[in-house]
């Protein structure tokens, strides 16, 4: 089929480009400028070359050690959250009803956590996790477990992971559920004729058909966990020590707490580079999967 091609349609994108210029490109260029200069007093900048980057990439320096630590912690957090959320989300989606009035009710209940803003989630859990008045903290303490999210690194870490699982597994559930609903009945009928068991149906029909939505779910969840800020900021403040100091928490401490613009700028650029790389890899995988399916 021949589609009409009119490049003037690009003009319609111009307002968005203008918006992106002011919301993203100019600030980004400023960050690049900051990353090669040192600042003295008010807006007196001196050329500093690659020194900020060399500091950042050398784990022997203070800022380098902080960056390496936060990066490792953040990657560990993202992987942990994904390993829990993706299988759990698929499992919940498989258990959801497929017809009747319960469908709407269940979906609304499951979607509720996603509607709550991050800082509200943080505040809810800050109280929920207290050992004296919080249901979660008090229950664990009552069971005889050593739980203290402000003093014990393991507790703090688990709390942040549980918050993220509670807040964002619904996204995986909804995406998987939509993917499952899109599978034509004929596949299941064929499986029944072949005498396939539940597990065989899952491995050979459902999982391959979920492939695409799962790539999207993993991309979204990875990006969000990689940029996590509000929950640790509100609940643990990055502590105890620096157990939950993830990249964005550390970045804000350096940029706004210490006003080390050079360190913060070089850190954000490398942080940004990692994000761009991962997005590009996911995007390439997704588009290539589409292309192969079409062929």
């Amino acid at each position: 089929m021949d589609k009409p091609l009119n490049n003037r349609a690009w003009l319609l994108v111009a307002p968005v480009l203008l918006f992106v210029l002011f919301s993203a490109l100019l600030p980004m260029m400023t960050v690049v400028n900051y990353s090669v200069q040192d600042q003295m007093g008010e807006n007196h900048f001196f050329w500093n070359g690659d020194a900020w980057f060399r500091d950042l990439l050398n784990p022997a320096t203070e800022v380098g050690a902080r960056f390496a630590g936060a990066l490792v912690r953040n990657l560990a957090f993202s992987v942990t959250a994904l390993l829990i959320e993706v299988p759990l989300g698929i499992a919940v989606a498989l258990c959801l009803p497929r017809k009747g009035w319960t469908v709407g009710a269940t979906l609304v209940v499951i979607a509720l956590p996603m509607l709550i803003p991050w800082n509200v989630v943080g505040t809810i859990w800050q109280i929920f996790a207290r050992q004296d008045i919080g249901l979660f903290g008090a229950a664990l303490t009552g069971l005889g477990l050593h739980y203290n999210d402000t003093q014990d690194p393991v507790s703090a870490w688990c709390t942040i992971v549980i918050i993220d699982v509670w807040h964002w597994t619904p996204l995986v559930v909804l995406l998987s559920y939509a993917g499952l609903r899109a599978i034509p009945d004929a596949f299941y009928q064929a499986a029944r004729i072949d005498g396939a068991g539940r597990w065989a149906v899952f491995i050979n029909i459902e999982l391959p058909k979920l492939h695409k939505v799962l790539v999207i779910a993993i991309l979204l969840r990875f990006m969000q966990t990689f940029m996590i800020y509000t929950e640790p900021f509100v609940v643990t403040g990055g502590g105890p020590g620096n157990a939950t100091t993830f990249l964005s928490i550390d970045l804000v401490k350096i940029a706004l707490g210490q006003v080390d613009l050079g360190n913060a700028a070089s850190m954000s650029l490398i942080y940004n580079l990692i994000t761009i790389t991962l997005s590009w890899i996911f995007f390439t995988i997704m588009t290539q999967l589409d292309r192969r399916r079409e062929e």
Binding site: V32, N33, V36, N43, F45, F53, R54, L57, L273
Partner: protein, 91 residues
Amino acid sequence: MLAWMAWTWETALFFCLIGLALVVLTSLAVFRPETPRNGILGFPTMRGDRFFVSMLGAAYIFIAWMWFGGGSLWYPLAIAATFGVAMFAFA
């Protein structure tokens, strides 16, 4: 007006070159259309993809150079340029 952005001629030159590259790539796409080509990356690429991979690779080449405590940045620049040429030739 732009004082807060703390411009230097080096970074300005850098962004001008990036902008110029985008303009050149866009005009090439308009006046010399191309079809995707399957190269060493294992998936079809166009000029834009190859440019993006070159830029991304260049950033990591510089990072690796500084990570291992290398000296003058002209060496990684040469490596990155070679990498870019290779990407445009074989990717």
